[in-house]
């Protein structure tokens, strides 16, 4: 399995989109390209499992390395472990769905799809890079597309949100950059993750670098209190943009926190674990309570994302194998779930032209398909067994409980409490939007509720693809667990018994 395919396919898709003559061509080209990427990700999954079944125990599989520069020592070093495979799969799912739900983007269609595919390219490249410089390069590649997607196709105070997002992410990148430069010069002039993990970086130095890297990646993954770009960015972005931001971009940060900060700097991670736990517990509770106060559907999902991503960070902070596996599962699960959530919100907004919960009502009768999906994804968000959210959050809680200390117990219980709050805001939102007798959405089309159409084929397909992901994790979590747990074990072995 050649990992370069994962970079070449989106690149070719993007170039093909540029060459298209009209909107129809653009749409079908990007759809074909994104399905090709989905196919490649599945191939990668099977190839990976086959290698593992054949007894290949190397930490990274399908490694490839091409020299870019000798001084500073930079290589295009690619390779995947279970975590990367899961994340790549998530990316291709969200990309396909994102392309499908953007079917009726009228304004500058070509540019829109070009940037969307570019965003995916950045994510793929990030997840397969084993060289910190290249990893950082791909992390940064996605900044321009995000900025332009929000600024041009967004809604509401889009310029403000786009600026805020770009600047905060750039600030995070500056911290990451300094962190990896310090690593480079103090660990034998290499950016290579596998080499860095073998070089002995002194504990003192780790304690200096860890905060830089963790905070830097934390900006991307909405670590409290650096989460403030999330609500604005998510709610101003166009539907596909929000799906990408919440579904993938935030996971880039989580992946970086784990793979770069925690894995390479175990001493630093131990030193600051308690602070991470406190911050993520605050994020979980604060995010949940802030969501209660929101009336705009996108803001509801944006703040609940802050809360849900907090679980991932909590899992990382707990530093037990189960908790880290749970954190990774939560990343995948939340990625699929939140992408679907934003997709459904987009479908509702396209028809009712409002996102205010209290202006809607009784949509179940007129949009049964959309609303059913909305129901399922809502239940997934509040952690109903059988859906992905439950599996992931349960694993995090169990992992956290393995730490026997009053402090850990209190943090875990506090995080658990948030589920109740989640149930309150999710059920209230669903109840208001789908149920009830509310006659007409105030700012909806003149014909009123009865003329609102249900999801079209493209939207149905997008929803079904993402629903399949949620159910696949929720009902048979075994495959994901098998993928993530060994990789988490490698990280835990490095951290050592606490």
């Amino acid at each position: 399995m050649n990992l370069l395919l994962l970079i070449a396919t989106p690149l070719l898709t993007a170039l093909a989109v540029l060459l298209c003559r009209n909107k129809e061509q653009v749409k079908w080209t990007s759809l074909a390209g994104s399905f090709a990427q989905l196919g490649i990700s599945f191939l990668l999954l099977f190839a990976y499992n086959a290698e593992r079944a054949a007894g290949n125990t190397a930490q990274m599989l399908f490694e490839e390395s091409y020299k870019l520069l000798s001084s500073p020592n930079i290589n295009f070093h690619f390779g995947v472990d279970g975590i990367s495979v899961a994340m790549i799969l998530l990316t291709s799912f969200v990309l396909v769905a994102g392309v499908l739900v953007s079917w009726n983007v009228e304004k500058m269609t070509k540019e829109f799809y070009f940037l969307l595919v570019l965003l995916a390219l950045g994510a793929y490249g990030f997840f397969i890079s084993l060289d910190l410089f290249i990893l950082f390069f791909f992390l940064e590649v996605s900044v321009i597309p995000k900025y332009l997607l929000i600024g041009i196709w967004g809604s509401g105070k889009k310029e403000y949100s786009a600026n805020k997002l770009a600047l905060m992410l750039m600030g995070g990148s500056a911290l990451i950059l300094v962190g990896i430069l310090v690593l480079y010069f103090n660990a034998g002039n290499t950016f290579d993750i596998t080499q860095l993990s073998q070089s002995g970086i002194s504990g003192h130095l780790q304690k200096i670098i860890f905060p830089l890297l963790f905070l830097g990646f934390g900006v991307f993954t909405a670590l409290f209190p650096l989460h403030t770009w999330v609500p604005d960015g998510h709610s101003s972005a166009p539907t596909a943009g929000s799906m990408f931001l919440a579904g993938i971009s935030m996971k880039l940060g989580g992946y970086g926190c784990l793979r770069v900060a925690t894995y390479l700097l175990p001493e630093g991670a131990k030193e600051y674990a308690n602070i991470i736990i406190i911050l993520s517990a605050i994020a979980i509770l604060y995010g949940a309570f802030a969501t209660m106060m929101q009336k705009d559907l996108k803001y509801i999902n944006a703040y609940s994302s802050v809360s849900h991503v907090g679980f991932s960070l909590l899992g990382i902070g707990m530093l037990t194998q189960t908790a880290i596996t749970g954190a990774l599962m939560q990343m995948v699960s939340h990625g699929v779930m939140t992408a679907l959530f934003f997709a459904v919100i987009g479908m509702i907004y396209d028809r009712t032209h409002t996102r205010q919960v209290n202006e809607m009502g009784g949509l179940m009768k007129v949009m049964p398909f959309t609303m059913t999906v909305f129901f399922i994804v809502g239940l997934c968000s509040l952690g109903l067994p059988g859906l992905s959210g439950f599996v992931a959050e349960m694993t995090v809680f169990m992992g956290s409980w393995e730490n026997a200390g009053t402090f850990y117990r209190i943090a875990t219980i506090a995080a658990c409490m948030s589920i109740v709050v989640t149930a309150v805001y999710i059920l209230r939102a669903i109840g208001n939007v789908a149920m009830g007798p509310h006659p007409l959405p105030v700012s909806a089309s003149r014909e009123g509720n009865n003329r609102l159409s249900d999801a079209k084929w493209n939207e149905k397909l997008a929803a079904i693809i993402l629903l399949a992901g949620i159910l696949a994790i929720g009902i048979v979590p075994e495959w994901l667990n098998n993928l993530l747990r060994p990789a988490a074990e490698v990280i835990m072995n490095r951290i050592g018994v606490k």
Binding site: K67, S70, F137, L177, F185
Partner: protein, 465 residues
């Protein structure tokens, strides 16, 4: 004799072109339309010829030296001049005195070539004067505009002032060490107070030419008043040349004083980045905007220079190459718009994408490259500068530089936002971009996209050192 021909080849070629233009001018004369392609062709040949016969050696008792690296530096400058002749073709065709403009520009370039090659403070001073006086005349080239004359006046006064300081520094150095030859100087320097004082004067003169804060005050006015062809020459070619000789002087000649100049550079760099960025935030005129952005970029160049090892030298050369592409692309787009519509304000760019997608993409690509965002080459350029700057382990310095990248992103995004997002009832009308200008822009765009991803290029620069 043979040595003279090969070692001084770049200078001789430029001199040849200057004389050719002079003869054409005083002879029959040619129309701008037919002369411009000829000049462009000659400049292209000059650039290509720069790749061949680059032997190291020195002439005139070490007053003039050249190495493959020096030849590469000269070639980067030649490339810049060639691109300017393409990008500013519209304006050049219209000026009444085009041959003179090129004669002045090439004289300046000749001065810069000698400057980079100088091995002696005397030649260094003469070459610096040759590099600055023609530029002042070029700044005055929009003859009917008052601002242009004002800019030229400011330029010549500040340049004369800095030359005075430089001369004073040189005479103090001569007094303290008894030599003006670079190779002997480095053995004579021991850090005595008088030498440090002389060195401070030299640094001040360099800082003037590089427009390092607090010696930057002339920059914005001169940039704004001059025609864009002059501005881009000043901000790209001239700055590149000064950066090259500055780094050569620090690394080769003033190596014994490195503890002194390291902290001077750090202080100058931090203050330059911060002031340049903060002033750029509020600018409305695109030329002033790019002036302050180029001040901030010089701050980043100083980060690389501060490393005091081979990586500093190579990262600066590499950055200047990328800077040639990025800044010239930005100036080129601004030049076309200003030439055809007279609009130079950022607010005028609102809604530009709807009417001029090509120009918009060029501008945005250039700005992202200046801001240092991948996949543009500017990212690699900035990163290598920061990497070499962190060789000494002074990571606070790097954090400050990193945060300055964030601030700079803010104002570059302002322009992007105006072009793509802001609504405007009367956007700039559709502009016809002539094929010459388009060629220049495409070369710049290709340079911005490709340079970073070709690792060989950076390896090549390093192999020359």
């Amino acid at each position: 004799m043979n040595d003279f021909l090969t070692l001084m080849k770049p200078e001789l070629v430029i001199t040849f072109i200057i004389f050719l233009l002079l003869f054409i001018k005083i002879g029959k004369g040619m129309k701008n339309e037919s002369l411009l392609p000829l000049v462009q062709m000659l400049l292209l040949l000059n650039f290509i010829s720069g790749f061949f016969f680059n032997k190291p050696g020195s002439l005139f008792g070490d007053m003039f030296y050249t190495t493959p690296l020096v030849a590469l530096q000269k070639n980067i400058l030649s490339l810049g001049v060639y691109l300017i002749s393409l990008l500013c073709a519209d304006w050049l065709k219209k000026t009444a005195h085009m041959p003179e403009f090129f004669i002045l520009m090439l004289s300046g370039l000749l001065g810069m070539f000698l400057l980079i090659s100088s091995g002696n403070l005397l030649i260094f001073y003469l070459a610096l004067e040759l590099a600055s006086i023609p530029v002042a005349a070029m700044a005055n080239f929009d003859l009917e505009k008052k601002r242009s004359s004002e800019g030229a006046m400011k330029m010549i006064l500040s340049s004369a002032f800095s030359s005075g300081i430089l001369l004073f520094g040189i005479s103090l150095i001569y007094g303290a060490t008894g030599t003006i030859s670079f190779s002997e100087l480095s053995h004579q320097l021991n850090g005595s107070p008088l030498q440090v004082l002389a060195f401070v004067f030299l640094i001040a003169a360099f800082a003037f030419k590089l427009s390092v804060v607090p010696f930057h005050l002339w920059t914005a006015d001169v940039y704004e008043g001059s025609p864009i062809a002059t501005t881009s020459f000043l901000s790209v070619v001239s700055k590149g040349a000064i950066a090259f000789i500055f780094i050569a002087a620090l690394y080769k000649v003033f190596q014994p004083l490195q503890e002194t100049w390291y902290w001077m550079l750090v202080a100058l760099s931090v203050i330059t980045m911060i002031i340049g960025n903060l002033f750029a935030l509020r600018q409305q005129n695109i030329k002033r905007f790019l002036a302050f952005s180029s001040i901030a970029q010089v701050g980043f160049i100083l980060v690389g220079i501060s490393s005091n090892d081979a990586s500093g030298l190579s990262s600066v050369v590499y950055f200047v190459l990328i800077y040639v592409f990025s800044n010239l692309a930005a100036f080129g787009a601004a030049a076309v718009i200003s030439e055809q519509t007279g609009k130079e304000n950022i607010d005028d760019y609102k809604g530009l994408y709807r009417t001029n997608p090509f120009l918009s993409w060029i501008m945005v690509l250039a700005l992202f490259s200046l801001a240092g965002i991948p996949p543009t080459a500017g990212f690699f350029g900035k990163l290598f500068l920061l990497t070499s700057g962190s060789v000494r382990g002074n990571f606070w310095f790097i954090i400050i530089a990193g945060l300055n990248m964030v601030i700079s992103l803010y104002y570059y995004l302002r322009v992007v936002r105006a072009i793509f997002m802001d609504k405007n009832e009367n956007p700039v009308e559709k502009i016809h971009v002539s094929s010459t200008v388009k060629l220049g822009m495409i070369i710049c765009a290709a340079g911005i996209v490709v340079t970073g991803l070709i690792g060989k290029l950076y390896d090549y620069i390093q192999s020359l050192i």
